[in-house]
Structure formats: C-alpha cells, structure tokens
Symmetry: C2
Subunit: 429 residues, 2 copies
C-alpha cells in the first residue's frame, strides 16, 4: 500500500519542476490524455461496467447510477473539455505587475502554480479527468481521491492519464491516486507538503475535512441559496421551479424563497401550485401558512433557526419579508454566502440587493443554478468556494494559481534607504 | 467590559453598509483622521509618556522603548502615510471582468471588501493608525488589539480616529478596539462574524492563533530567509551584513547563508571577519568549521535539523552546498517560503533560483530586507503572508479585498441550457 505522506513529500520536491515546464509541454500532455482515452475507450467502458454491476448489487439509486456511468457521451464531454482547456491562455508565469523601486532595482509579480493540491471528490469518473486536466494546465501536482463506487473506472482512467503525461515528457510522479478511504486521514496530515485541499461532497464530509487538518481548505460545506421575490416578474415561477428542481442535489439549488409581504397574498398560492406540480414540498412561517388559506392546511410551520437548512431535496423553506432590506438581512444571517437571486423589475431594488448581499454570487432575474464554472465560461471548475479568501464562487484555473515577487538588483541594501543615502522612486514599468 | 462576540456580530451587519460607501467619504474620513491627530498631538504625546514611564519602570529594553515612543517624527510619518493612502486608487468596486454568457445574461466580477477583519498587533502605536487607515480605505470593519505596553497611547489614538470617522459620515461602529488580553481568545471564537484574522508578533504567538481558531488566518509564523552565495559579487559582504543586521528582529532578516563549495575556501574567512565585525555569531556545518581553519576554533557545529531555526538575533547559520540546485533544495526544505536571495553574476544561475525557490519573495543580488509593503511601493502593509492562498508576501490594500460575481438576466433558467433549447455564447465585454 502507498504511503501518502511519503508520496506528498516526494511530490513537493517535484512541484517546482512541473511549475517550470513550458506551456507547450503541458498542452501536449493534455492532448495526449484525450488521445489515450479515446484509443482505449472499450477498456474504460468495460471497467465502468464492473463498477455499475457492483452498484446495482448494492441497490444504488438511479440518480447515482447515472453519475457513475461512463459512456460515449461522457467520454465525448471530457475530451471536449480537454480541448477547451488546451486553447485557454497559459495561467503560469503571467507578469501581474512590474515596478522599478529605484535605479536598477526591479520588482515583478509573477503568477505561479500553488504547488501540491489534494482533491477529494465524489463518485463521478468524469471528475477525475477534469480535475487532473485542470491541475496539469495550471502546473500543479495533485493527490486525487475519488469515490469508492468508481474504483475500477478511476483506476483505468488514471493509468491512461499517467501514461500520456509520461509520453509527453512531464516530470514523473506529478499525479498520485489514493484509493483507500483511510488515506484521506493520511492526506489531512500532510501540512508542509500539501498546499491546498479541495474536498467536494456532502456538508458533513467537507466539515470533517475542515475540522481535521492544518492545510488550507477551499470549497464549501453549505449551499443555502435564496431567491427573494420582490415583484412577480413574468418568469418568476419558472425561475423558482428551475432553481429548486433542475438538480436538487447541487449546492446552487435554491433552499429558501423570500416573498415581499405586499405581494404574498396573490403570489404565494401560485407558488404553492407551481411547486406542488413540480413535487416540491413547501414549509415555512405561520404567516405563509395563513396566506395559503385552504391550500395550507397540511403546511408545516418551521422554527426560525431552521432557515439555516440545506435540503438538497424537493423541499423548500418559504418566508415573508417586508422589503429588500429585510430580505438582505435574512440572507446575510441564514445564508451560506454562496449564491442568491432577486426577482424584480425595480432597478434600485435589484442594485441594492446585488450590493448588500454578502455572497459569492448575487443574481438579478435568473436562476441560482447558473453558479458553475462551465456556465461562467471558465471551461471547467475544481469546485465552488464560499470562502472570501483566495478564490470565491466557481473555481477554475485562476483559483489554482498564486504568485511570487521577483526582485532583481545589483548590490542594493536596505541600510542605504533607512539612513537616507538612497531613496525609492517607485515607477511602474 | 465589552463583549467581543456581540461586537463582532453587530459589526458583521454594518460591514455591507461600509462596503457600499463612496470613495470620497472614505478618503474624507482618512483626511479627518490625519487632521484630528495633528490637532491633538500634545494630548497624544502626554498619553504616550504614561506608557513610556510604565515601560521604564518595568525595565523594558531600549530597542522596545524606541518602538513604543510616539513623537513628532512618528506622527509625521503616520500622517504622511495617510496622505499616500488617500491618493491611491479606490480598491472597492473595480470591475475585474465582464462577460456576456448569452443574450441578456451578463456576468461581472467586482472587487469588494473582505468584511470584518481582526488584527492583533505588536506594541507600536503607529501600527494602530496604519492598520485602521488601511481598513477604512479598503472598506473593511476591524477589531483591533494592540500590545498592552501602549495602552494609553492606543486609547487616545483610537478615540481620535473614531471621532474623525463619525464626523466624516461613515457608519457607526466600523472599528472596535479590544484592550484586554483575554479578548483575544473571544475574538478567535468569532467564526461566522469575523472573516479574517491578521496576527502579527512572535512565532509562538502566531502559531497559537493559527491553532486555536476556525477563522482564516493571514500572516506568517516563521521568517527563515536565506542568501545563497553562488559567486562573490562585489557587494556580497555588504548585502549579507545588511540582511542579517539591519533589523535583526524583522521576519525578513537573513537566518542562513549557503555558500557554493567551490568558493568556500576563499569566501568563508572573509564572511567570518565581516560578520564578527558586525557582532554576528556564525554557526553551521563541520565543513564550514574546517574551511575557517584558525578562525573556526570556537565555531559551533550544529545539527542538520537546526537549519529550521529563526534566530531574530545576531546569530546566523552557515552551510556549504555544491551548487544552485542543492541550494534550492535546502531552501525549499528548511525555509519558511518567505524571502530568499541569490548572489551571482551568472544570469542562468539567478533565473534558475528565482524560478525554483518556492517563496513569496525570490531576489537576485540584493538584501532580503526589501520584503516590505512600503519598500514595494504599496504605501503601507497590514502584514506579510507566507501562505500561498489569497495574498502572498507583503499585504497592502489588495490583500484586504475579495470579489463577488454579479449576474443580471431577464428570466433565464438553467433547464433551457441543460436541455439544449438555449446555448451559452461567452463573449467578453
């Protein structure tokens, strides 16, 4: 069995070599990955069948089976993703600024890869390919741990990826696959070697990672997204149903609807009917129940602090608020700073909402489900961050970069500037 | 006594209001601070004398006394700092990119303040003014905790600052001063309300903060900076003595000299004489002792793992390495990823070093002491970060910002894009 600590330590030494590789080599490696996957598709599908058979025996639900499946459609989509990634500009070695501090003393800030990244992701074989590709493009080493339900598929995909990297001439050992669940705990201990952890998965799982490591963690535990209905715009119900039901398990699905009190009497019954037709159960405040009249006879009244709840299911919380100010207060208090939307045709109301809601994504007249790296045009994402430090919202290549300052002189010492013999002139170049 | 948790919670609600203030108002507040400090300088100096008297009674060292002192010179320098800050461009509300995702669906990324920041800083009254000013300019609320040795001075400075903010029309309660040491532990518990902690101080103290909070921490515990002497360039000794002695307590002071083996015989005795003349004690490998010959008779040979040591004193570690590759390996292993410098006239050697050393600052032919926000032309700094996430190196205004994505539509839902009814067109605007 692999020792993750040793692997991570070894990887830390390789990381500067990968960071120094040329764009052409990294892009050639990506192209080689796509080629190798296509060339061995029958083997991949065969291994995937083993995972699917095991899943079926374990009585896995249809929704999860869909995610486990790796067929021609999925292969095409990961291959297309790689092609998109190849044409994106190189994120490595960008000069972010250049400044002359004094005659012959020149400061530059350059983008560099973060180094060694640990990604723990759900049982989706396409995720393994996407994450590996993002790491290669951005010059980062990675320890990858996928879900155990896709063991066979991940193993063959990983083998094909590593073969391609080696042929393309990238340094050896820049990607490592962890297969055992206990290796996650080993990975959490790799501070000093692993620079960043990106866990994807359930709230409980991400919270566990955050509480058991000294390594910085990027991601989100909760996705408590809101839509505030200030006005019944023409597409209001369509947006609300899309945000709740288009993919309930997603972190950007809506969990709470806030409705302006003055429109509640006319709007809430329509919302109830639309949600019921979409198989969504509403629960919320006593006031909402009251506005629902007859319809509300089985309506569950919930406690105030339950508005923190992320359902990831066909359930949603509903509450009346007086105005946009109260909506913003509710969202900043009960939300998870992920993505929140306002429906209104009043420009000032919308701008107030976009300004005052303290979330990674603040939307006007559209569904919260747009919060996604692909839909933002980033090509792919390694995750979505609700942290305010480093990357926020969907995280693409840029979120996998840091920078370093290079200072070039010819003998300058600080003593001369402290004593006043010399003075800085600060000229941006 | 103040309840920090309640204060932080209240501050969290004020933060979006401060973030929404106009540049003119924040700049006017800064100007009012400078005015108020100048108008009440005699009171400030009188309070500062109380701190100085107490310090003298407690037998505080001369070096520390110098830092505690707040005289006309210090006042002038903080007032000049504020003037510089006022003319810097507004970091708030910058459009970082704008992209049309589809007809009438427009994505923008806007810079926004981080929110509520807790800064715990050393006993230096000028730090209180600098940090407050940086927070105001960047639209951030702050909980400030200074060293107890400057209690009287901090109290009057804080009072004058708050008076100025209030007159300028900024929201109430955007700055809070913590005065009791036990309030630090309260502050560490304010996750959810405090977005970022910036501790400045000793290694042990910063480590304590990092290990006792769930709030993200920006800063550095260690500053183990290196200079690798690949070649004896003309200013080599001057640079080495400056980097070690110009301010030994600073995190960017050099702790370890690495010397290329092929020049060690001629260079080490000169280094020894220069360091001895500057009252610096050298210690290091057996090999260095041997190269020192007669001079090395009292030279302390140290264990390999002691190269992790940050002395912050007139002591330095010395070691021979075969070449730049070995120097880079040593630095990436024993360093703290802060700032490291190479001395050489060989361009390829320098570029290899700048590329491969994994530190926030990588320097060529100059002193490590240049790693500082003022010397980089940032106007001021809230600290220096050795983290690779978010800000790295000296942290000025930019490090106090995050961003949010604003998406404006007119009824768009994700279902239409998932089903293929609509397609994204991704046009950068």
């Amino acid at each position: 069995m692999m020792n993750i600590r040793e692997e991570a330590h070894r990887m830390k030494l390789v990381a500067p070599k990968l960071a120094a590789t040329k764009e052409e080599v990294r892009n050639a490696a990506l192209a080689a990955i796509a080629e190798n996957l296509k060339a061995h598709q029958q083997e991949i599908f065969a291994e995937n069948h083993k995972d699917l058979d095991a899943a079926r025996e374990n009585g896995i639900s249809d929704a999860v089976m869909k995610r486990l499946k790796f067929d021609e459609g999925k292969l095409k989509s990961v291959v297309d993703g790689i092609a998109q990634l190849i044409i994106l500009p190189d994120p490595v070695g960008k000069v972010q600024f250049r400044r002359s501090l004094d005659e012959g003393l020149e400061l530059e800030r350059i983008s560099v890869p973060i180094g060694v990244i640990g990604v723990i992701f759900e049982a989706r074989p396409d995720a393994l390919v996407q994450i590996s590709s993002l790491c290669i493009k951005s010059g980062n080493c990675a320890v990858l741990k996928g879900g155990k339900e896709t063991t066979y598929t991940n193993r063959i995909l990983f083998k094909l990826i590593v073969e391609a990297l080696s042929k393309a001439g990238l340094p050896e050992g820049i990607l490592v696959q962890a297969e055992q669940h206990n290796e996650i705990d080993e990975l959490l201990q790799c501070e000093g070697d692993v620079d960043l952890l990106i866990p994807r998965g359930s709230n409980t799982f991400v919270q566990y990672i955050m509480n058991h490591t000294k390594i910085p963690v990027m991601g989100h535990a909760d996705g408590v997204c809101h839509i505030y209905v200030d006005e019944e715009i023409s597409d209001a119900l369509t947006i609300l149903v899309d945000a709740k039901t288009q993919y309930t398990a997603a972190c950007n699905a809506m969990e709470t609807v806030l409705v302006k009190r003055s429109i509640a009497g006319s709007f809430l019954p329509k919302l109830y009917d639309a949600m019921t037709a979409a198989h969504v159960t509403m629960r919320g405040s006593e006031e909402v129940k009251c506005f629902l009249g007859e319809r509300g006879k089985d309506f569950e009244v919930m406690a105030e602090d339950a508005y923190h709840k992320e359902y990831t299911d066909l359930i949603c919380s509903v509450k009346c608020v007086e105005n946009v100010e109260e909506a913003v207060e509710h969202i900043n208090r009960f939300g998870s700073h992920h993505t929140d939307s306002v429906l209104t045709n009043q420009k000032e109301v919308a701008e107030y909402f976009l300004q005052m809601v303290d979330s990674a994504g603040v939307y006007h007249n559209c569904s919260t489900r747009f919060a996604d790296g692909f839909r933002y045009g980033f090509g792919a994402e390694v995750g979505i961050s609700t942290s305010k430090l480093h990357a926020r919202g969907p995280v693409g290549l840029e979120g996998l970069m840091t920078y370093k300052y290079k200072l070039r002189g010819h003998g300058q010492i600080v003593g001369d500037y402290a004593s006043g013999v010399k003075e800085f002139h600060f000229k941006d170049l």
